[in-house]
């Protein structure tokens, strides 16, 4: 049935777009993993925190106002100004860099040379902490995020495909924007990590903290740098997802959508995050379209993404583009 084919194409295209959205989150994980071997559980919460901060700054919200009011019996909530989107984004980037500095100073500089699982644990602690702070700082109600990104069906594609196939494809404008931004981010990050001295240092650190120290690489510098970049990536992801669903707690759960992407693409590969995202996006959407919804009662995407990644891993245990796991004695 040609209709079915067209629908399938539309689903696949949207899958690609969804994949890009997942990849945006996965990128943050990759960066930090690449630079320190830390599996950063807090990445999702960082996205939430960044988005909340952005909205808070835009709306001129007083940080910790609720706490302050509860303690001092005051009634303050807003500064009374509205910051333009771009300025707010810049300020948020600064906040995220500050956050990176704090994280390094108070957590990871004390945990040099520890096993990966312990570093992972520390990020869990960080996630708890940040989640609490984010809520205390900006409140846990839903916030609308508006930085002027277009949303909704892209008419041009709808028209063109309608004329060509007799069925107009749906592509969300927001997804198109996300794709462009993701492409830029990935290109930049790839250049950075492959062709700069810092990029090489980053990979060295991930391999062996102590040896990196011994050749004079400053872990503090590398980590602050990388966490800042990861914070920036988190902000981008937060903006994209926040525009879709408003800014609230669940934003932190997008991390779960990024994990299969991460594992498929390889924990250490920036292009892997994109390719993995695309494969996962298309895979899960097509599966839902062809098998999930008609035969299994739907809502299969969550587990299917993981199963798909698992299947890939059985053949390539380091993911598609991950660094080969060195097995030697």
């Amino acid at each position: 049935m040609p209709d079915q084919l067209l629908f399938g194409m539309e689903v696949a295209l949207n899958g690609l777009m969804a994949g890009v959205m997942y990849a945006l989150v996965a990128l943050g994980f990759v960066l930090i993993f690449k630079a320190s071997g830390i599996f950063n559980y807090a990445q999702g919460v960082m996205a939430l925190f960044a988005a909340m901060t952005l909205v808070g700054i835009q709306n001129g919200q007083v940080p910790f106002s609720y706490l302050i009011n509860a303690i001092f019996g005051t009634d303050i909530q807003y500064f009374g100004w509205q910051a333009p989107a771009l300025l707010a984004i810049l300020l948020t980037v600064v906040v995220m860099a500050g956050f990176a500095w704090l994280v390094n100073r108070y957590i990871f500089s004390h945990l040099v040379n520890q096993e990966p699982i312990i570093l992972f644990m520390a990020t869990i602690g960080l996630a708890y902490f940040l989640e609490g702070v984010a809520d205390l700082m900006w409140g846990s109600e839903i916030k609308k995020l508006d930085v002027g990104l277009p949303q909704g069906i892209n008419d041009w594609i709808d028209q063109t495909t309608f004329e060509a196939f007799g069925y107009g494809f749906f592509i969300d404008n927001l997804d198109i924007v996300a794709t462009i931004i993701a492409a830029l981010l990935v290109a930049g990050l790839v250049l950075f990590s492959q062709y700069t001295k810092q990029g090489r240092a980053l990979r060295a650190v991930a391999d062996d903290h102590q040896a990196a120290l011994s050749v004079g690489i400053s872990l503090n510098f590398i980590w602050v740098l990388v966490w800042s970049i990861a914070g920036f990536v988190a902000l981008v992801a937060g903006i994209m997802w926040g525009a879709k669903s408003g800014v609230q707690f669940s934003l932190s759960l997008i991390a779960l959508k990024a994990l299969p992407v991460l594992m498929l693409g390889g924990f250490t590969s920036i292009p892997g995050a994109i390719v993995g995202g695309l494969i996962i996006g298309v895979g899960e959407k097509l599966f839902e379209f062809l098998i999930g919804a008609p035969f299994l009662g739907g809502a299969t995407e969550n587990w299917f993404a993981y199963v798909l990644a698992l299947v890939f891993l059985v053949f390539r245990p380091q993911g598609l583009f991950g660094e080969k796991i060195i097995e030697r004695v």
């Binding site: 040099v112 040379n113 001295k197 090489r200 240092a201 990979r203 060295a204 991930a206 391999d207 062996d208 903290h209 102590q210 040896a211 990196a212 120290l213 011994s214 050749v215 004079g216 690489i217 400053s218 872990l219 503090n220 510098f221 250490t268 660094e323 080969k324 060195i326 030697r328």
Partner: protein, 285 residues
């Protein structure tokens, strides 16, 4: 006793800095994990432009001493609890290893520690991380390292994790050379190297020392070679310095001869003929 607090200008009255001592370790104590006392008051001084050897059996504390100097100890949950370490008269205990490299002190760690996932060449290039003298100089030095270790040139595109033990050792030493340091702390450079290469490496050490004035502090089990190339030696046992002296003197010391050089009065014994396991060292009695 002075504490570990960082203060740049030591009190000259209590800590006399020898004119030509590049590095001075004064009576340090090291504790791991807050409980395990490993170094019990180690003092040594490394003259500028010299090769100083640190000798001693397994677990004597050689590695620990070197790590205390290069400040890598912190990342092993070890602490210098007493004493001071001076480099060019400055206290360096509070500095990060990276700062030290910038100041010209670099350590080649025991057990190679190459970056597994990086290629040999990338490994060498990370050695030049702190350098600011441009790509040309780095490229030249890379060539120099390859000239010293032709084997590395052959394997330059291989991931370090997949090279043989000896190749990794060369890589680690080459990497440190890339930093153009003033002082290299070498931890067991000969370990796992073929005899020819051991000679070569010490030859390189000597050349670097003579031609470029690099100062060396090397911890070494291969006493024979070490004492041949070093100017001065310290012998460390269970966290204490038990003997020190110019290398030539140490070579003649009967104990050193027996325990470290494997010579008895009749010349070298065969490993087959060693019969008793436990002998007493005179300095312990």
């Amino acid at each position: 006793m002075p504490d570990t607090q960082l203060d740049a200008k030591p009190d000259p009255a209590t800590e006399p800095a020898t004119e030509d001592a590049l590095l001075e370790v004064n009576n340090i104590e090291v504790i791991y994990n807050h409980v395990i006392l490993v170094l019990k008051g180690v003092s040594l001084s490394v003259p500028k432009g010299g090769i100083t050897a640190l000798l001693g059996g397994n677990g004597a504390g050689k590695t620990t001493t070197l790590k205390a100097i290069s400040n890598l100890l912190r990342s092993e949950r070890g602490d210098v609890t007493k004493g001071s370490i001076l480099y060019k008269g400055d206290r360096i205990q509070g500095l990060s290893p990276a700062d030290l490299v910038e100041r010209g002190v670099i350590q080649v760690m025991e057990g190679r520690h190459c970056f597994e996932h990086l290629t040999i060449e990338e490994n060498l290039l990370t050695g030049a991380y702190t350098r600011r003298d441009g790509g040309k100089a780095t490229a030249d030095d890379l060539e120099m390292v390859y000239d010293y270790f032709p084997r590395l040139r052959e394997r330059r595109k291989s991931q370090a994790g997949y090279t043989s033990g000896g190749e990794q050792q060369m890589c680690a030493i080459g990497r440190a050379m890339m930093a153009r340091p003033e002082m290299i702390l070498l931890d067991e450079p000969s370990m796992g190297l073929a005899p020819q290469l051991v000679e070569q490496i010490f030859g390189i050490v000597k050349r670097l020392n003579e031609e470029q004035g690099v100062t060396f502090l090397l911890a070494e089990q291969n006493t024979n070679v070490a004492l041949r190339f070093a100017h001065y030696g310290y012998i460390l046992e269970s966290g204490r310095i038990v003997m020190d002296g110019p290398a030539a003197d140490l070579r003649e010391n009967p104990d050193v001869k027996e325990f470290y050089l494997g010579m008895s009065d009749e010349g070298r014994k065969s490993f087959r003929d060693v019969r008793s396991y436990r002998r007493r060292k005179r300095w312990l009695s």
